[in-house]
Each structure stands twice: as C-alpha cells, then as structure tokens.
C-alpha cells in the first residue's frame, strides 16, 4: 500500500502550511487522532489555494499533499468531480483497478487504490478531502458546514 508516490508526498508535502483563506476547518479522525486544519481560498468558483497544517500518518499527510496538487487552480465543478472519483476509489474495498480514464482525473491520487483494501486506513486518506469539502461549503455558503468527519 505504501506506493513510492505516497512516500514522496509524505516526505515532501506540497503546499503545506497555513496561508490566507476564505474559510478554515479543523477535522479529526477520532479513532487514530489524525488531525488537519485546512483553509480554502476562492476567486469566484476558481480554487486559488488550499493550505493546511496537520499531524497524522503518512497516508493522511500524503493525501493532503496530493489534494493540494490536484485542486489548486481548478474550477469548483472539476474539483468536485475529482473529489467524488477519489471517494469512489477509496470506498471500493480494493475492487477498483484504476483505468486510464480514472488516472486522467486522479493523477498521483490513483496511488491510493491499495489503501482502499484497508478499512482502518480509508478514513486517513479521506480526512483532508472531507475537510476540503466542508471548508468549501463554508466559503461559498452551503449546507453541511458544521459536520465533522465521522
């Protein structure tokens, strides 16, 4: 499950650190204590920055770094599609073998396919993505702004 790509992102996280943003959320994974504080900055519906600080396992840290890579600069609707595809992959219990189409969408994030076989770790991989979704809802004014990652 520890693909080279994941280890690289873990050791050299992209975009780490808290910068100016439109909304900030703090999410924790109560079963293992992983934590993330994440801010989003929008220009209209374009994501201009996702900045974050956190502690946790390599999976949760690398996942935040990949998220930053993938989402910054994207239109909200594209980002949502990426997020949904990643969620689908992570909930697949190892049953999805990413194809080219999926790789086009997820890029480095396909490396997490192996993690989906480990139910205890799926939440780690999703932590930053859930935080991003939540922060976006707050920034742009949406529904479930209050929800924590269960």
């Amino acid at each position: 499950m520890y693909q080279e790509v994941i280890l690289d992102h873990y050791k050299n996280p992209h975009g780490r650190g808290l910068r100016d943003g439109d909304a900030e959320v703090h999410h924790v994974n109560p079963t293992c204590g992983d934590e993330i504080t994440l801010r989003v900055k929008y220009d209209g519906t374009t994501i201009t920055d996702v900045s974050y600080e956190g502690q946790g396992c390599s999976i949760s840290q690398a996942s935040a770094s990949v998220l930053n890579d993938l989402l910054v600069g994207k239109e909200l609707s594209d980002a949502q599609k990426i997020q949904e595809t990643f969620l689908e992959l992570m909930q697949s219990k190892g049953r999805i073998e990413p194809d080219d189409a999926m790789e086009d969408v997820l890029e480095d994030a396909v490396a997490f396919a192996g993690v989906s076989k480990y139910p205890a770790r799926v939440k780690c991989a999703l932590l930053s993505w859930m935080a991003w979704k939540d922060a976006t809802a707050q920034a742009l004014g949406g529904a479930d702004a209050e929800r924590k990652t269960a």
Partner: protein, 418 residues
Amino acid sequence: MTQLPGLLDTEAIRKDFPILDRQVHDGRKLVYLDNAATSQKPRQVLDALSEYYERYNANVHRGVHVLAEEATALYEGARDKVAEFVNAPSRDEVIFTKNASESLNLVANMLGWADEPYRVDRETEIVITEMEHHSNIVPWQLLAQRTGAKLKWFGLTDDGRLDLSNIDEVITEKTKIVSFVLVSNILGTVNPVEAIVRRAQEVGALVCIDASQAAPHMPLDVQALQADFVAFTGHKMCGPTGIGVLWGRQELLEDLPPFLGGGEMIETVSMHSSTYAPAPHKFEAGTPPIAQAVGLGAAIDYLNAIGMDNVLAHEQAITEYAVRRLTEVPDLRIIGPATAEERGAAISFTLGDIHPHDVGQVLDEQGIAVRVGHHCARPVCLRYGIPATTRASFYLYSTPAEIDALVEGLEHVRNFFG
C-alpha cells in the same frame, strides 16, 4: 412414518445436528422437544465458530493487522446478514447484545434516560401484556419504579389470546412505549401486531416487539411490522449462546442516549467528558461477542438455505399434528390456543392433576426432553390458575415420530401416576 404436507426433509436436516444422535438414560434416543428454551446447533455453526478462533481471532475495529481486519470483516459481515434477515433498511440499525433480555433492557434504559419527546417519567405510561416473558416484564417494572411511570397491560382471554377489547383505555395519549411479544413462549399465541401498532401510532407511542420466539420460526420483516424496536436472541435460532439482537429505527438510535459505557462505543474521551460513536457502535460497549456474532451469521446462512417460509410450513404441519394428537390424550388440557391457527410451535398443557415436574421427569426417563414450570411467564400461570405447565416445543428438525413418542410417553405418565 407419518407424512404431512409441508414437512422438511428432516432426515437430511437432522444429520447436521450432532446432538440429535445422542442417547440418554442408557441407550434411549434423545427426543428433544425443548426448542422454545433453546435450539440445537448445526455443524455449520460449530464449524464457523472453530474456524473463527483457529484462523481469524482478534479484537475488532481499529486494528491495522491482518487478523484484526479479518475479524472485523467477519463481525461486521454478521451484522449485514442479520440486517438482511430481518429486512432492516440499514445495517446500522442492528445492535448486537448478549441476549434478548439485554436488548429489552437496553430499550427500557434508553427511554429512561432520554430527553423529550421519548423520555419516560412520572407523567407517562408504559404498556405491556400479561403474556410477556419475564424479560419483557421486569425491565419495565424497574423502569416504572425508577421513573414513577405507570405500568399497564393487556389481559388475556380464556383461550390464550390478548384481550384487546379495551385497547383505547390501555394505550392512551400518556403512553410512551408499548412492548409486547410477537409469539408467546408459553401459550404459543401469535399476536395481532397490526391492531396494536395502529393504536400506538395514533397516540404517538413507540412500539417494541419481542420477537424471540418468532425470529427462529418464521420470516421476520421489521419494516412490515412497523415497529420501532425488535428484539431477539441467537441461541433459539441455531446460533450460539451469548448473542442477541436489537433492531431499532435509525433516527431513534441517533437521538437516544447510550446505555453501557466503555470501549468501542465512544467517539472521543477526555477525563471531563466523552462523545459517542454513531449507532450501532454507541450501544456496543466493550469487546463485543465477536465469535458469537459470526456464529449467528452462520446460523442465518443455514436457515436461509432452507428458507424461512419452509421452516414455517414445516412447523405449522408439525404443530397441527401435535395439537391433534395431544387433544386425544385423556385429561390433557392445552393452555393457550387449542387449534393450530395463529400459533407457534410451543404447546403448553396440564395433564389431570399430575404435577408438571412429574410429567417432565417421567418423560425424561424415556428420553423425551420437555420443559416444565412457569417458563419465565408466571403471570400466565396465575391467570389460568395453575402452578405450572408442561411445554413441548418444536423446530425445523422435529418429526411426527417425535410427537408420537411424546403422546406415548404421556400415556405412560398417566399409568404411572394413575
């Protein structure tokens, strides 16, 4: 051999149950007619237990090692099987307990500690029936004592059915919860769920159904029942001891407070306060009965392979035959419905004034296992003015020949004490 329409291939089925080969009292074949107390277990369930312990045993949840992942998958897989078995809208509505008694106590305690609108307190009323198992009486008596709520109940008709003639006085606007048995373990009566649920819904009361004697014997559909809680127990349905189930409606489980506190049921704990995991985990404190859940899952697989409709048809045929044959025994009086309509596979009776203890003991000497006493439903004995009954109860492996043995055995009892 007696052939009845609807019978299962008991010859094949009995091969799955090692204990049914047992001989007792120097070579007498065991005739096991105490299924309402507990059922026997098929090889398939015993194998599932052994396999669990020999290959997968680990504590569940939170583990990142192989065994922990596998044990968790097996345990949660058992929850899926139970959810499907009772047609639950969501697997998260299935709570594992240690037995039906704990399930019923769990409901009573949730309501005792709940906030409005669920809270049971001195302004409110609890409704049960006179044919409940002690496990569906005592928890409500305790709750009534401890909260000041009033405990009310439906009485029984002379032929062993619920007397619902005063339903509008029994279930009122003050009623918070109506808890009743789907199939009585002493009378065998199958109760009219719909009439009770309709009235409960009218006044906004919750409904809890004790399905301990239903789940083993007939298809169970919690959505069709329209109840809020349904309780049953594993050991009566081919499963291991030490496992019970409470099904509850999701939004209720979300709103209601926990009962037992401890590991597994929390979200986060500090010395000052704790928050709780979502249901079902909120109600499963401590290491759950893991192997027992897995065993119950195997029991459900076993029953599904036969088909619950077929189990029901078999038992109806057996019960009809038993009612017919028992009615022929002089001085035998059935306590409960005297026909096979709307009744389950447990038949209680008295035999002249021979005490049930003596009936049971002399039957036992012939290898026939029945239960005698008040069957944890003493108010029923009080209602019918008898100290106890003898109860024969059947399951999917029961045969007409066993009924014949029972009837012969009863003749012997009569001669012995005659």
